[in-house]
């Protein structure tokens, strides 16, 4: 059972446009929602993350919007650049006394056309 559902699978955006990737989850116990960026041949790297007590977090051109009631969160990349072309993964996690396990979406391949 996929704990975190991510869409779209692929996305093509013109340079300067806005890239939007969406994720949805079911488990209301999740308390941490990171986004990872992965370039070919590399491991994923943390891009930005949000906790459920805020509805939005912005870091530079990257913004997470979080809708707790709808159990959805999304990544917005403003002024998209060719260098943003990568695969993006959303994830959700719940902290337990024994640590925390992460559940990842299936990824979105973003291509930014010059």
């Amino acid at each position: 059972q996929q704990q975190v559902k991510q869409s779209p699978q692929s996305l093509i955006v013109q340079k300067g446009g806005i890239s939007i990737i969406n994720c949805a989850y079911e488990n209301t116990a999740f308390d941490y929602f990171p986004w990872y960026q992965q370039f070919p041949g590399k491991g994923p790297a943390l891009l930005i993350a949000i906790r459920p007590d805020v509805s939005e977090k912005k870091e530079g051109r990257f913004t997470i919007s979080f809708n707790k009631s709808a159990k959805q969160f999304s990544l917005h990349i403003m002024d998209s650049q060719p260098g943003d072309s990568a695969t993006y993964f959303c994830a959700a996690s719940r902290f337990r006394n024994t640590g925390n396990q992460f559940y990842f979406g299936t990824g979105t391949s973003l291509t930014v056309i010059p």
């Binding site: 991510q6 941490y32 990171p34 990872y36 041949g41 590399k42 491991g43 994923p44 790297a45 943390l46 993350a49 993964f89 996690s93 902290f95 024994t98 640590g99 925390n100 396990q101 992460f102 559940y103 990842f104 979406g105 299936t106 990824g107």
Partner: protein, 117 residues
């Protein structure tokens, strides 16, 4: 400082052979994760080590898969009697669990690309 390292970077093996994949986490990180990433797929959780606690093995796909973590640091993922469907990139990540700013942040290694022929 040094990040998470994995070895080998690439491994080609024949069906039926055993393979060992190694992960060196960031020094001081108490949590270590193994994931599998198949072509065009997301990250599939395999196993999770946290300090001295018993590992969470709930993601291991079969009893051919096992992992250990020696001395709370280096981890080895072993796949016995490899099958073609085991072909994937195996990623290791570590994190500093237990508090602080980086409570949840996972740092990933570059992965080991396993090809079973």
């Amino acid at each position: 400082g040094a990040g998470v390292s994995q070895s080998p970077s690439n491994k080609v093996t024949e069906k039926g052979k055993d393979v060992e994949l190694r992960c060196d986490p960031i020094s001081g990180h108490t949590a270590l994760y193994w994931y599998r990433q198949s072509l065009g797929q997301g990250l599939e959780f395999l196993i999770y080590f946290q300090g001295n606690s018993a590992p969470d093995k709930s993601g291991l796909p079969s009893d051919r898969f096992s992992a250990e973590r020696t001395g709370g640091s280096v981890s080895t993922l072993t796949i016995q009697r490899t099958q073609q469907e085991d072909s994937a990139v195996y990623l290791c990540a570590s994190s500093l669990a237990g508090g602080g700013k980086h409570l949840y942040e996972q740092y990933f290694g570059p992965g080991t690309r396993l090809t079973v022929t």
